[in-house]
Each structure stands twice: as C-alpha cells, then as structure tokens.
Symmetry: C2
Subunit: 321 residues, 2 copies
C-alpha cells in the first residue's frame, strides 16, 4: 500500500465514521447525502501527509483532516446555491434535491461541525489550528465573492484572477498542510514553507484545471469539453487570450463570443487560443507555480521525507483530466 493509499483509507474511514444526529432530518439528511458523493479527498490527505512528515502519527491528524474536508463540503454546498448548479459530482446538488433554504442551513451547520472537529486537540494545538483555519475560511469566502464579482465585469486582469483563485481554492490546500505541520510540531518557519508549497501547488492545479477544461480528453475529463468557453466563464486562458491577441485576433475573439453552435465554438476556441499563444502562456504559468511549490519544499528543513509531497505534486500535475 502506498502512502497515498494509506492516507486515503484513513480519510475515507473518518468520513464514514463521521456521525450526525437523526433529527431534524431535513437538516442532517442533506449532509449525509452530500458527504457520500465522494471527491478526491485531496485536502484531508494533505493534512495527514504533513502530520506524519513532521513527526506525529497520521492518526493524530485525522480530526483536523476531517475539519478541512467538512469545510470544503460546506463551501461547495453554498457555492452550488450561488452558482445555481444542478449537479455536483454527477449527482443532484443539495438545493436541487431539497431546496435553497435547506442547503443554506445544512451548509451552516456543516461549517460549525468542521470547527467542532478541532475541539479534540489540546488547548495550545487547538489555538494554533484555530488561527490558520479562521484566516483561511475568511479568505475562501473572499475568493468566492471575487469570483461572483468577476461575472459582472469585462476587464478582469490576470493578477486579479490569480488572486481570486489563490483565495477561493489554493489557501485551503496550504491550510490543510499547515494544520498537519502544527500537529506534527513544526516550527513557524517550516509551517510557512509547507503552507506556501500548498498554495503554489493549488495555483498550478487550478490553472491546469482551466487548461484541461478546453484541451483535456473528453472521456477522461468526464464532463463536456469546453464547458468554461460555452458558459463564457473567465479563466486564465480567456484572460491571457484577451491580453495577448493582436488586432486581427481580437476580431476573432469577438467572433468566438458570437458562435452559437457548441461544437463549433469549442473547436474555434481551441484553435484561436492556441494560435494566440494563450495555451502556451498558461502552461508556462502553471510550470512557474509548480516550480515555486517545489522551491518552497526545497527550503523545508526538519522533515522526515519529502517524497510523499513530490509524489503528490507529480500526481496532481500529470493528469489528463
């Protein structure tokens, strides 16, 4: 069994053992449903990985790992309402299966349950975990608000977009790792490095997501190729294309917006973004964040083995879906 398999098994066990009261069932049934929809459990795995790398037993990190996973699921339940999304992991979202009010309230209680997981740590560990968790939770909300604001704007810069994805998705990876490091007894400097590793890896991962949405293999992606283009969603690809296009290409970008046929539109976007150099630009940006992640890892001292982190980075960034 690889380390990754071991951590995955521990996390799946913890999620399966996470028990909720029966009543009020309209509050807790949606959570029982949502928590079994699965997902990669990437964040809690990061926590266990860091817990062990910094010298504690993986088991000691399990409540913090669960806190991170519950928080992530809380944010998905609420984001799905805001995005009016019918599906999550190919199943009905909570607000679709029940209703918006139930999705709001069951999300709320899940956030509190996430906090409650931290209560099992002894006071000084709890305080340290609590601080990074609070800060991260606030940033994730800020990132989601920026994402919603961007939908109403035409002039989002690359820097703004990177800041948005840093807050909305990357800081939680950093937090997941840092919480493990705290439990493992890491000093402040090591905590900061492992946090940075997570944030930079998260940025690389998100840019790869943008790329795979348009250039991934349809069967492997498991969803429609070009979903972002069809929804006119802002991604690093579209932002880079707007900024790198020459005059002729700008005319083509306007044309892209006007294409109605989905298949044609996606094909046109693939060709145009490649020709403009936006695809290559994003690949380059992804590599830059990947390198920053590895550099943060390089600066880490007092750690038993960096191999699991390197394996994880390779695993995350060499996928085709």
């Amino acid at each position: 069994m690889t380390n990754l398999e071991k951590y995955t098994r521990l996390v799946e066990e913890a999620v399966a053992n996470f028990s909720l009261p029966q009543d009020p069932n309209n509050l807790y049934d949606p959570l029982r449903y949502f928590m079994t929809l699965g997902g990669k459990r990437m964040r809690p795995i990061l926590t266990l990985m860091a817990t062990e790398a910094f010298g504690a037993q993986a088991q000691e990190g399990i409540q913090a790992a669960l806190a991170v996973e519950l928080f992530h699921n809380f944010s998905l339940i609420h984001d799905d309402i805001m995005d009016n999304a019918p599906l999550r992991r190919a199943q009905a979202t909570v607000h679709e299966k029940w209703n918006s009010n139930i999705a709001i309230l069951s999300g709320d209680v899940l956030l509190v349950k996430a906090y409650q997981c931290l209560a099992s740590y002894e006071p000084s560990t709890l305080k340290a975990l609590f601080e990074v968790f609070n800060q991260t939770a606030i940033e994730v909300c800020e990132g989601q608000q920026m994402d919603m604001d961007f939908e109403q704007r035409s002039n989002v810069s690359e820097a703004e977009y990177i800041e948005m994805i840093r807050l909305k998705t990357s800081v939680l990876l950093g937090c997941a790792l840092q919480m493990g490091a705290i439990i493992g007894g890491a000093n402040a400097q090591s905590s900061a490095h492992i946090y940075q590793f997570g944030v930079q890896l998260g940025l690389a991962f998100q840019i790869q997501d943008d790329l795979l949405d348009l250039f991934g293999e349809s069967a492997a992606v498991g969803k429609q190729i070009g979903g972002d283009v069809l929804a006119n969603k802002k991604t690093l690809l579209s932002i880079a294309a707007n900024s790198l296009a020459n005059e002729r290409q700008k005319v083509e970008l306007v044309k892209l917006n006007e294409i109605q046929d989905p298949e044609l539109k996606v094909k046109f976007a693939q060709d145009l973004y490649t020709q403009i150099g936006a695809k290559a630009y994003c690949q380059n940006q992804m590599e830059t964040f990947h390198s920053s992640a590895l550099q943060a890892l390089d600066e880490l001292q007092n750690i038993s083995s960096k191999t699991p982190f390197l394996e994880l980075a390779a695993f995350l960034l060499h996928r085709n879906h």
Copy 2:
C-alpha cells in the same frame, strides 16, 4: 450610570470598533450595514454581566460578547433569507438590499468572524469557550430547521414548540452567560447554573413575545398587533388554543382561520384565545419558566452579586413591547 448602561456602552463601543476589510466590498458592505441596524444587544450584555459577576473585569469578556453578537447577526441574515423577510429592525434585509447570494456569503464570513473573536483568549479559556459556542451554534441551526419544518405541519405539540424555541433562541442566552462565567473562572457547576438561568429566561422571554404580539400595545410594540395570527404562525398561544378548546370553541378556531379582514381577525383571535384560556395558560407558562430561571440563579454560589441578573430578568419580563 447603571450596570446595564455600562455594559451597553462597552458593547456598542466594541461593535463600533469591530472593523472589516474594505474589499471585496460586496462581501463586507452588507455586514457594515447590518451591524449598524442596532438591536437590544441583549446577548453580549449578558456575557459582560457574567464576566464581571464571576470576578473578571467586564473588559475581559468583550471579545466573547462580540462573538455572540456577531453569531446572532449571522443567524438573522440567513434566517431572513429563509423567511423571505423584507425588513429587519424596520430596514431592508441584506438579501433585499443586495441579493440572496451576497446574503448567504456575507453571513458565512460573519460566522467565521464570530469564531475569530474567540482567538484572542489564552488556550485553555479558548477551548472551554469554543466547546459551548460550537454546541450552541449547532443547536441554533437545529432550532431554525424545526421552525421551518413546523410551517409544513398542522400537529405541532406544545413540547415540540418549546423545544424549538429553546434551541432557536434560548440556548444562545445561556451560552452568552456561560461564556462570561468561563472567562470569570467559574467552576463547572456554576457555569451550568448560569447557563440554565439564561435558557429558562429565554423561554419566558419568547413566550412573552408570543403574548405581546397579540396582546401588546400597538404603539409600544412598534409593529402591527397580531402579526403572528395574520401570518397563521404557530406560537404557544395558537398551540394552547387548539389543545384547550372545547367542541364549540374548535368551531370558532376554524372560523378564525377563514376571516379575511385583518382588523376583525385580530380582534376575534384576542377574544377567542382569552375565552379558551390560552392567554392565561401562556402567562402561566411564562411565569413557570421565569421561576425556573430564578431558581437556577438561587443555586448559584461564589458570585459577587446576583442583583444585575435579577434586574435584567425584571427588565426583560416587565415590558409591554
């Protein structure tokens, strides 16, 4: 300056000094707006009162008091969405003034900010505060879910209704007091007594609210008399009326439901509920909870003065609005 005025001033100062980032302004403007709508600040005052009664400086309780007030406001922002309420404290609700998505997300971040207030306490105090706060937050969500569930049901019993208001509103009063007691260094037994004082007082207060809604003085209530009856809302009054009515009165209760004219309907309800004995029954239940509150206070040892608590109970339960 009375104690109550002193605590009120401290709380108002803390709320005024509670600062939020400028950006994203769609996330934080709604909170700046909502926090200035006022309210009685009853919960944070309870925290300061208990902090001082158990031997610490009121100032030491201020962050816990703020946590309770922010939590209360978070729950109001989300409840207003769920209840589709246009007004709160005679001003537009957040989801009306902005939109539901912004109300969901700014509520979320306010809940995290409430937790963040607790981070200023030293580790062992934080852990104790954290546990009662988590438990209470979960119960408040459960109470709100029960309240929503009751709207769809015709057969809500008195016991179920009391349990709903205990969770939805009373436990937060108990929590506010217990947090102050913890900061003041109270032992477990005293903490439990002051918590019970708050919960029982909260139940008495809520039943009084139900009574005043129908039998209060219109100008003093500051809102339409009989709002609950007009909205066909379940209250202890309506539940008691259904359970105490004789056959003839049951026919009258059906008639009450069918009256369209608001003024007539309210007058009819006042007379019928009085005649059935539901008004007297509720007054009696209110007094019973009030007595239980005073009894819990009676059992408290090691406290400098019970006067502020007695004054508060008298103040809360001898209002006409």
